[in-house]
């Protein structure tokens, strides 16, 4: 990773530590982690429950802050930004795919996908075009007017992916995107993510504890007790 990172890093973490206070005791979730992710990478971060992989993803997304260290993503240093500034930055640079899909149940598939575009200056027609394109990419052009309750789990997650890519973000972060899916649906989602990386050049960081899911990524790194296992 190091050669490519020198050329074009999208994510650059330096001595990042994250500790939580639990019952008066400081617990380190991430310990002095330093690494870079080059643009266009499909990286899978693996690790057992509690290893800190979701925390790491949240730090990269600007959802959580490191206790110490610096986090630079898409050319912006995040660790000193305010919550509001981070939200604005996220809207431009991050597409987030959740394990539990997290669609808004009262909005249709198209409206859910359109949601991030409410923060842009696009016209109504442009927004509609973006939504159609995103849903077509995930193979759900014929389910635009369906509500989440009318979709299968796999379809819901595909809507979640469409929502993540509709604003053309710099990077897609996926937190256990196949964790709630059956094998077939999981394969569909992984194929979709791989396609987005391959055909659109999207940088994707996926957290998973499933080795079969991780195999679909270009690179796999293991996080164990807050330390990232680096390649030999």
């Amino acid at each position: 990773m190091s050669d490519a990172a020198m050329v074009d890093p999208v994510v650059s973490l330096h001595n990042v530590t994250k500790t939580y206070s639990r019952g008066g005791t400081e617990v380190s979730v991430i310990r002095e982690l330093s690494f870079v992710i080059p643009a266009g990478t499909f990286l899978a971060i693996m690790g057992p429950s509690g290893s800190g992989k979701s925390t790491l993803l949240n730090v990269m997304a600007g959802i959580d802050r490191p206790t110490s260290g610096s986090v630079v993503v898409a050319g912006t240093r995040l660790d000193h930004m305010s919550e509001g500034a981070m939200a604005r930055w996220r809207a431009r640079h991050i597409g987030y795919v959740f394990q539990t899909y997290n669609l808004i149940p009262v909005l249709t598939a198209a409206e859910n996908v359109e949601l991030p575009l409410a923060l842009t200056h696009l016209t109504r027609r442009e927004r509609a075009d973006h939504v159609k394109t995103a849903l077509r990419l995930v193979g759900l052009a014929d389910r635009m007017d369906h509500y989440p309750r009318q979709l299968s789990g796999g379809q819901e997650q595909r809507v979640g992916v469409a929502r993540a890519i509709v604003s053309d973000p710099t990077m897609i972060l996926a937190d256990e995107p196949t964790g709630n899916l059956d094998r077939e649906s999981a394969d569909d989602i992984l194929t979709l993510l791989a396609r987005l990386n391959r055909e659109l050049g999207k940088t994707i960081v996926m957290v998973t504890h499933d080795p079969r899911a991780a195999e679909r990524a270009q690179m796999i790194r293991h996080l164990e007790k807050g330390l990232l296992e680096m390649p030999p």
Binding site: G84, A87, L107
Partner: protein, 388 residues
């Protein structure tokens, strides 16, 4: 547009809860509106009073009587154009619940003193000719189904005995706040004659005088002159312009009015609590969704707008349903509660409507305050980790 759609869909997301909340708010608006109607009625007389009518009553108490002989002495006071007088004529129809405002008035000056009375000429003449006849407001006629020519059997309270009065006319009023349309009028002379046999010590007494002043006359001077005329007599007078007299009457009921005002405030507080509860539940249930929205880049102000909008929509929904119910309720209220006893018309004014809407907007804003503060302070991570 998406946010507006989301706001609308969130509002109707739990139909049963929404219906109950709107129902609760509507009941509060209804009660608030009826209270305002009552307060408005108390105050409307003050606004509607005539400038050229002076009311003279006993200086010690409105309930004490003045001698009829004062009429001639008042009539010669400079500035006084006409002197009218009357008494309360307390009666009930079939039982005490069916009582209403009734007055014995000197009919020689009644119509001139109160041009507010709208009555066709033939009925007016028929009434003036028949000393045992009565005049009733159209609301009273509608309440009991009385019509011209009917004989009404009444039981006297202030004027003992049974009375059988013939309805000679049904009037409307150009100013119901002063001249109520739910009242009954008889000839003062007729009531006075009956007193000769039932209560001889009360004959030739008057509850109030109404002196009409000539245009351009300084009423303050006339007021002072009337009271000066009867100073140091056994029945001193207190004279006020009609407006001041009614205002004083309203002021004497000040504690009650103040209590009603406070009650209005308490009702709005209840409405706010109803809405706060519903809104807090909704926001708590959707905390994770708000966390997701923040992950997508939405700012606290967007989420606050969603909650505030929803709160205002529900509050206005409650206001509209409540106002819709207020119209039939006000009619029912006028008949059942007021029963024509007062001069009030119990009509819903634009002010009452705006007051109800304004109160509900305020309730909507207040109810959204706490959930909005909570959402503003919530970090994205707290939202995402929320388990509803």
């Amino acid at each position: 547009m998406t946010l507006l759609r989301l706001m609308l869909r969130n509002t109707v997301r739990r139909p049963v809860r929404l219906a109950l909340t709107i129902g609760g708010l509507a009941m509060v608006v209804l009660a608030f509106g009826l209270l305002r109607l009552t307060l408005d009625e108390w105050h409307s007389g003050v606004k509607a009073a005539a400038n050229n009518r002076l009311i003279t009553v006993h200086a010690m108490s409105d309930s004490l009587q003045l001698p009829l002989a004062y009429k001639e002495r008042m009539a010669v006071i400079p500035g006084v154009q006409l002197v009218h007088y009357g008494n309360v004529f307390g009666v009930e129809y079939r039982d005490a619940k069916e009582s209403f405002g009734a007055f014995a008035e000197h009919m020689g000056t009644f119509f001139e003193t109160y041009p507010e009375i709208l009555l066709n000429e033939s009925d007016r003449l028929a009434f003036l000719k028949d000393r045992g006849g009565c005049l009733i407001g159209w609301k009273l006629a509608a309440r009991f189904g009385w019509k011209v020519g009917d004989v009404i059997p009444l039981k006297g309270t202030t004027h003992a005995g049974n009375w059988e009065l013939v309805v000679r006319g049904i009037f409307h009023s150009s100013n119901p706040a002063i001249m109520g349309e739910g009242e009954l009028y008889v000839h003062w002379q007729f009531a006075n004659e009956r007193l000769k046999t039932t209560a001889p010590d009360r004959i030739d007494q008057v509850g109030w005088y109404v002196a009409t002043t000539a245009p351009g006359v300084n009423t303050r001077t006339v007021v002072a002159a009337i009271d000066a005329t009867f100073a140091n007599s056994f029945a001193e007078t207190r004279t006020e312009r009609e407006q001041a007299y009614i205002a004083g009457w309203v002021a004497r009921a000040g504690a009650l009015l103040e209590a009603l005002d406070w009650l209005s405030g308490v009702m709005n507080g209840i409405a706010a609590l109803v809405l706060v509860n519903a809104l807090a539940m909704a926001v708590r249930e959707r905390t994770r969704e708000y966390g997701v929205m923040k992950t997508l880049g939405f700012q606290p102000r967007h989420l606050v707008t969603l909650v505030l909008g929803e709160s205002l929509l529900v509050a206005l929904g409650g206001a509209l349903v409540g106002l819709g119910l207020l119209y039939p309720a006000a009619r029912l209220y006028a008949v059942m509660v007021a029963g024509g006893k007062t001069v009030g018309a119990y009509e819903i004014t634009a002010e009452t409507i705006w007051l109800c809407l304004g109160a509900m907007v305020l309730v909507g804003l207040l109810a959204a305050l706490w959930p909005a503060v909570r959402l503003s302070r919530m970090t994205t991570l707290e939202g995402l980790r929320h388990r509803g």
